[in-house]
């Protein structure tokens, strides 16, 4: 009798999200386990550690109701796989990959290991096609390109979901008609938050090119470990098999990291910073690094992971390790939000590492890099002056400094702030930038080539 058919009832220990099964043989590391509780309920698990005759299993749907007498486990002989098909577009799945939209199950065209394989750096194509999101602070200062992973660092109560929905709604590559397919992966967010996205996709007709993987706040925590991997397996199929441009929205990575910590704690592992496991960097990398482009393939995966920084602390391990892996970050700030500015993007700590290669002549506009650098430098100086003003008062400032101060105020009002449904073209974004420069003395525009100053600076006099 093959191992697949044996129902082991030798569960010896249940602790937290883990279960130990003894007296087994021939079970592989990471193999999937089908568990049946004493009441006949089915659950899924995965082997975390394999010994000669026992295994440690993590149970995705939680261990409530498992016992050491009647609960049975069946090892299915393979690691976690996801059936993929282009019919997955327009569908909604739960944390174990089953459809939950009352439509028939999909007929898979291929079954793929959800852990995927690392892309060979040799076969990667360097991302450099500008994605216009219609949001000035992103397009103008922290440009997103196709194949990039650019997270949004937010805090609880900030409108990061609205921002992500806006990006999903407006993102396009200039000069190309093809729209992005969206893979939306919700980990532990509330029904309300998920609904915001669903409604938005519905309203804009984007639902039919969207695949959703949902694990809501009241769903089993441990499922959150496999959910992003399923979503990315699906995205990889769309991008590299079907040649689609895929935008993956992952929210909220903080909940993912919590689940990871829960398992580590249950296994009594040596904790790293703040109790998160020492391998969290590697683990997060296996998610984020699945974004990218591949030479000779039409499709691409662009990732927008979102996370809420506990207590708005950017040095917390979750945003910190994320920032070390992703290609930049968009940071939301409570102060701006309180001032009524949407999107409340704190420009200074934001960064897009792939920006330099995605902008400039023939891509956006020749003056883009200069404008961006100058806006940054001038705004940074203005922000410094605000601190000074708080101590010495505005009267103590020189004329030059007052201009910088005014610049930073106007910058927040005109450049950063925009309506949730305003889709600004890159030209418009740069134009606003130039308008703002006219506040400053011309000799201070040191970061821009003189030719562009002649060409683009509005002539007031």
């Amino acid at each position: 009798m093959s191992n697949k058919e044996i129902e082991y009832t030798t569960v010896s220990e249940v602790a937290g999200p883990l279960m130990i099964v003894k007296g087994i043989k021939d079970v592989a590391y990471n193999e999937v386990v089908r568990i049946k509780t004493s009441t006949g309920e089915e659950r899924t698990g995965q082997v975390l550690e394999a010994f000669m005759n026992k295994v440690i299993v993590q149970v995705f749907e939680g261990t409530k109701g498992l016992d050491t007498k009647k609960t049975s486990a069946r090892f299915i002989g393979e690691t976690m796989k996801l059936g993929v098909s282009k019919d997955m577009l327009g569908r909604v799945f739960d944390g174990t990959g089953n459809p939950i939209d009352n439509a028939p199950p999909i007929i898979p065209e291929d079954r793929r290991d959800i852990n995927g394989n690392p892309i060979n750096p040799y076969s990667r194509e360097y991302p450099r096609e500008f994605i216009q999101t219609g949001i000035s602070t992103i397009d103008g200062l922290n440009t997103l390109v196709r194949g990039q992973k650019l997270p949004i660092f937010s805090g609880s109560g900030l409108p990061h979901n609205n921002l992500a929905a806006q990006i999903a709604r407006q993102a396009k590559v200039l000069g190309q008609k093809e729209k992005f397919a969206v893979v939306f992966c919700a980990m532990g967010i509330t029904f309300e938050e998920a609904n915001l996205f669903i409604k938005d996709f519905e309203n804009t007709g984007a639902l039919e090119r969207t695949t959703m993987f949902l694990n809501l706040a009241d769903d089993p925590t441990i499922e959150r470990i496999i959910l992003p991997r399923m979503a990315l397996t699906c995205a990889e199929y769309f991008a590299f098999e079907l040649g689609m441009q895929v935008l993956v929205i992952l929210t909220d990575l903080t909940n993912y990291a919590e689940a990871l910590r829960e398992i580590a704690a249950a296994r009594e592992e040596v904790p790293g910073r703040r109790g998160y496991p020492g391998y969290m960097y590697t683990d997060l990398a296996t998610i984020y690094e699945r974004a990218g482009r591949i030479k000779g393939k039409k499709g691409s995966i662009t990732q927008i992971p979102m996370l809420t920084m506990p207590d708005d602390d950017i040095t917390h391990p979750i945003p910190d390790l994320t920032g070390y892996i992703t290609e930049g970050q968009i940071v939301l700030e409570r102060g701006l939000h309180k001032k009524g500015i949407y999107p409340p993007i704190a420009v200074l700590p934001c960064l897009s590492r792939l920006m330099d290669r995605g902008i400039g002549k023939d891509k956006t506009r020749e003056d883009h890099a200069g404008v961006s650098n100058q806006l940054y430098a001038a705004y940074a100086e203005g922000c410094d002056l605000r601190d000074l003003v708080a101590i010495v008062g505005e009267d103590a400032l020189s004329d030059r400094d007052r201009k910088f101060l005014k610049f930073s105020e106007e910058f927040e009002k005109k450049f950063v702030s925009q309506d949730e449904h305003e889709d600004r073209s890159i030209e418009k974004t740069l134009e606003i930038g130039w308008e703002l420069f006219s506040i400053l003395p011309k000799s201070e525009l040191k970061k821009i080539d003189e030719n562009y100053i002649k060409k683009y600076l509005p002539k007031n006099e």
Partner: protein, 594 residues
Amino acid sequence: MIKESLKGKITRISGPVIEADGMRGAKMYDVVRVGDENLLGEIIRLNENIATIQVYEDTNGLKPGEKVISTDLPLSVELGPGLLTNIYDGIQRPLPTIYDQTGDFIERGVEADALDRNKKWKFVPTSKVGDKLKGCDVLGEVQETSIILHKIMVPPNIEGTLISIVNKGEYKIEDVIATISSRDREIKLSMLQKWPVRQARPVKEKYDPSLPLITGQRVVDTFFPVAKGGTAAIPGGFGTGKTVMLHQLAKWSDAQVVIYVGCGERGNEMTDVLREFPKLKDPKTGESLMKRTVLIANTSNMPVAARDASVYTGITLAEYYRDMGYDVALMADSTSRLAEAMREISGRLEEMPGEEGYPAYLASRLAEFYERAGRAKLLGSKNKEGSVSVMGAVSPPGGDFSEPVAQNTLRIVKVFWALDSDLADRRHFPSINWLKSYSLYLDEVSSWWKKDVGEHWLNLRNNAMALLQKESELQEIVKLVGPDALPAKERALLESARMIREDFLQQSAFHEVDTYCSEKKQYEMLRIMSKYSDLIQKAIENNVNIEDIISIKSRENIARMGTISNQEFEKKFKDIENELEQEIEGIINEVNKT
């Protein structure tokens, strides 16, 4: 006699760490083949019959009971012509070959030779029959790339009399090219050597470094220089530009061979290097930079155990080229990922953790790695010299330098380039904090600068540094009372310091010209800025209004000095200097008139 290979079986699997029974007789750090797919692993602990093994590939689907075979050899790299221009993974498998075998994604169990067995190289013998040869003496030469002459050497542990050597001609790397008789034994040598990665290649004697490694980066060369054979650390939080900085060093430093190790970092960054380096030209030779470069890529999503191996692989390759008499520079991005890999493996071994979960041997491992750098008198009868310089990025969590990896690294390295996120936020790049950083090679390299570039180098450098220090003190006061409250003399001083910060320390890695600044140009820039500082002080003494001084036109010219090309800077700088003198003269005269 063929030794019967040891065969055990897997008894436990936990992520990248497995245990195997029946391994008595296997040696520590021997390479083993794990499971039916022959995954590569290394023994890291022995206990009676049980060996604990770290596996360099993904262990998904591995089962207890599968076989483990010891190869009885330590983890080694292949050395010979064909290394340059190649890109390897952490255990020296060429990524292009893996691509040919498994496509766009890296699958498991791939076996690939590090060096092409079928390629023929033109070998030119330089030793002759009867020569008494020692380890690292040169048998002959191969033009590996248009700029690097690959010396085919006697392996370090062999010496004897050359009894045969092939004629000039084309040979494959495994062909026997020479025979040496050593203690009545005949040893056949080919162009291919192997060397265990965890063992440093021997040298006769280590020297103190004395020559600077010119990197073309102003803040590095002028302010915090690194020496050939020196060690440097670049710690910085995310987004502070560690990787761009390392790329800049790999591109422009005047080492003859560059080994770039991407250890646990982004895939796209390696792609960037692969895409960009072949196009860039070495300012000294005019040839493509790729021709002197070996890349080692173990990206963050590749197996964690191979991360540890990748830096050892890198440093062994570096030592090999050093043994030929070259100056080699190794960049490791990032050593924190190496430390984290150690922590992960150590955790799986259930070792008693040291600080923040890192193993207690973290410090000694880091020291071991950095100690393989250095300038040395090489083995062999010619008493040649070579050097390995090591520059490692450190990624401290939360940008906090008090964490164990940064602290243990600082205890070893001689140069510290502290990257600062405040500077990065305001786009001051390279974001090296001039007040926190230091270099202990300043004295060693200053005689070279004095002799080869300009007599006043050390003075100029120290004055500028003092100016910046003074500025930071003044800034404290400005924060309290505003700039207008300062006396004119000190406001002028702030102006000079601002010039050095904005126009000298800042350097654009993405500007065609500014990306590389020759040592002579650096010197001249600093000299002119120092002159500016003196002249405006003089103007203040002559009662010129500070606002008039700040708004002089020359100020703008000086700001654009960095972008003046290395060919024509001498003439243009002279014009700038003259104009500056005249302008200041002019405003002083104006005041004197009234």
